[in-house]
């Protein structure tokens, strides 16, 4: 699936699109994408395992299958740019360079977690990495992200904001409110709709009058692109154009066509789709397998990939160990951080 522009107003952006999903990536880029995507995959598999062991509680939304989206987008921004997302946030944090140990320890509710155990899977932040959460209420990253973008305009920076939300959130009223203000004030924000086809158990077709979500900005004059979110190189190429647009011109919508392999959360029996559908996606569209083949074709030796596989496995083992060894927060922590003293 090629990057496809959804609105007329974005034509100029399309015209500058590089052919075949972007310039030929360097060996280093391919290796980096592979390492980052694999880190997310292995992290989430381990998180699922720890959940099954009762070490992680509550809601835990795994990102497996969607790795190409955040890795491709992250490659298109700078460390000064800002990222905000909703509750399926582990992948975003890892792609941004947050420490897997701190993320995993937050999942286990330990003091070594990014929120010292007080936030959990859906509520983590890193000011240092310009990651602004981790929000449990569907749709909120759109307007909160708009505020981050407003601050960039106010302070006259050239930074952009990536505001991620899902296909389900796209139907929230505040998303439309945010689109309106973003374009009204030409704020530097990229709305990334991760369309994994299902809002919990409700498919896009069952929930959305306009199923092509990249077109949702049309009435506001916001250009949109529908992008194959299972191919990291396509994502990166689209993100390059969109980020440039957001930095120089104003908001844009990127609809990332993707798929989650696991349930909406750990407690989802996933009766709304067939086993065959999931298996087919895994077999034919897996973003990591796809990149691996591409790397082999580019002449990267299997030995190199094996080294990355092992390193990743070790990092995740280390994170899991840390997340279990880190103590629970001191009871006195119950009353801290309610207000800034």
């Amino acid at each position: 699936m090629r990057a496809r522009m959804a609105t007329k107003s974005a034509k100029s952006v399309r015209d500058t699109a590089p052919p075949n999903g972007g310039a030929e990536p360097t060996r280093d880029e391919l290796v980096r994408y592979y390492r980052d995507m694999l880190l997310i995959r292995r992290f989430e598999e381990r998180a699922g395992q720890l959940y099954g062991m009762g070490l992680i509680g509550g809601f835990c939304h795994l990102y497996i299958g969607q790795e190409a989206v955040v890795v491709g987008l992250q490659a298109a921004i700078t460390p000064d740019d800002m990222v905000i997302t909703s509750y399926r946030d582990h992948g975003h944090m890892l792609a941004i360079g947050m420490d897997p140990k701190g993320v995993m320890a937050e999942l286990t509710g330990r003091v070594g977690g990014y929120s010292r155990g007080k936030g959990g899977s859906m509520h983590m932040f890193s000011r240092e990495k310009n990651f602004f959460g981790g929000h449990g209420i569907v749709g909120t990253p759109s307007s909160l992200g708009l505020g981050l973008a407003f601050a960039q305009r106010y302070r006259e920076t050239k930074n952009v904001v990536l505001a991620y939300f899902g296909d389900g959130a796209a139907n929230q009223g505040q998303v439309a409110e945010s689109f309106n203000m973003a374009q009204l004030w030409k704020l530097p924000i990229l709305f990334v709709i991760e369309n994994n086809q299902y809002a919990m158990g409700t498919s896009v077709a069952r929930s959305s009058a306009q199923t092509q979500l990249s077109k949702r900005g049309e009435s506001f004059g916001i250009p949109g692109m529908q992008v194959d979110g299972m191919d990291v190189l396509t994502v990166k190429a689209a993100a390059d154009q969109a980020v440039a647009h957001a930095r120089d011109t104003g908001p844009m919508i990127l609809e990332m066509m993707t798929y989650r392999y696991r349930g909406h959360s750990m407690s989802d029996p996933a009766k709304y789709r067939t086993r065959e559908e999931v298996d087919k996606m895994k077999a034919e569209r897996d973003p990591i397998d796809h990149l691996r083949e591409r790397m082999m074709r580019a002449g990267i030796e299997e030995a190199t990939l094996k080294i990355i596989d092992r390193e990743t496995k070790d990092r995740i083992a280390e994170a899991a160990e840390f997340a279990q060894a880190s103590p629970e927060p001191d009871p006195a922590q119950l009353y801290t951080d309610v207000l800034v003293a």
Binding site: F132, G134, H135, L144, L146, G147, V340
Partner: protein, 465 residues
Amino acid sequence: MPTAVRMPALSPTMTHGRIARWRKSVGDSIAAGDVIAEIETDKATMELESADEGVLGKVVVPEGSNDIAVNEVIALLLNDGEGKEALDKAPLKGPALTSKPVQAPTAQKPVPIKEPTTPKAASVEPTASGASGWKPATGGMVMQTVREALRDAMAEEMRRDPDVFLIGEEVAQYEGAYKVSQGLLAEFGPKRVVDTPITEYGFAGLGVGAAYAGLKPIVEFMTFNFALQAIDHIVNSAAKTLYMSGGQMPVPIVFRGPNGPAARVGAQHSQDFSSWYAQIPGLKVVSPYTAADAKGLLKAAIRDPNPVIFLENELLYGRSFEVPIGDHVVAIGKARIARAGTHVTIVAHSISVGYALTAADELAKEGIEAEVIDLRTLRPLDLDTILASVCKTNRIVTVEEGWRSSGIGAEVSALVVEHAFDDLDAPPARVTARDVPLPYAANLEKLALPKPEHIVAAAKAVLYR
């Protein structure tokens, strides 16, 4: 007989107005619909269109006149064929042509009701400074309306800190739906005084996001009734984030606007949300009465690194009080003794403080000295000041315009029972709004809201008198 042109009521809360300009002169022919004058109200300057036709015979109230009561005759129109001599016969005083509404029969024995005097633009409330009261920074005092005090607080803080900005509906070009942001656009420009679309959920979220990034937004809600659409961001995105981030992400933001019943605007525009916000950990909630506190507390709220809910009252905007000159900041979390007394403690906030002071005057006539506490801050509550008073008076009455169940009075009563049970000589009494949506009809609206008479009755009840 000439037709009288009367001062119109151009807003639900307008009691007086100013003739800013006459657009017609004596002798001009006037058709119905012609703009004849510009009237300045408590909210805006409006054009007065003539409802009748004729020739402008006399300007009764000259241009520039202040404090002209609604219904006062301001001009006379001569009808067809009438000469100037007819003007002498025209009555310049007397009631308008409206008939008094027929009183509905009351099912219950009517409570003797005397409405508290409607606040006038120029009415003056002396500010008693209590134990925890403020001190003027430079010694001097100035008379200011609450509206002006709020505007000055914002302007001073915006001068002091370039990260402070004001955002909301009609705050910039219109200068505030209630004229609270007058002059701010002119001084600070559209970058820092930002008009939004009508999109409460969206711009509340925008404000919170900007605060995440380190700015210090003042988010104005035209009224807190509309903040219901935004309460998700106030509670979920602003109040909880510091905690959920393990202390990493402060949210320095002020949400402000009028709260509580106004006058004759019906149920959807007339709700006191004090207890809603006072329930939320991670928020501070402020609700001042005097102009001095409005200014000092708003300045403190803007400087506070936490999310602050700042509940104003539309009916107080036009009231004048003494305000200390200079950088007047009032600490959040401190109540004020609005009147000292020894027999009964009356706890109130916002406009109810005025009702409590009126009630205290009435009680004094019967030898009962009430101590009136203006809470000023609802979260955190100044328990120490309340308990110190109750230990002295052994009796407490709470007053609020909110509903009774799970209200501020319920909280204060519970705290007093928990902490000063042995000091109480009577169960706490609560004066609140009736447990109904606020009705529109003038008589029903009066019946639904607390009044000084109710406070007097409650105070006597806890004194067993």
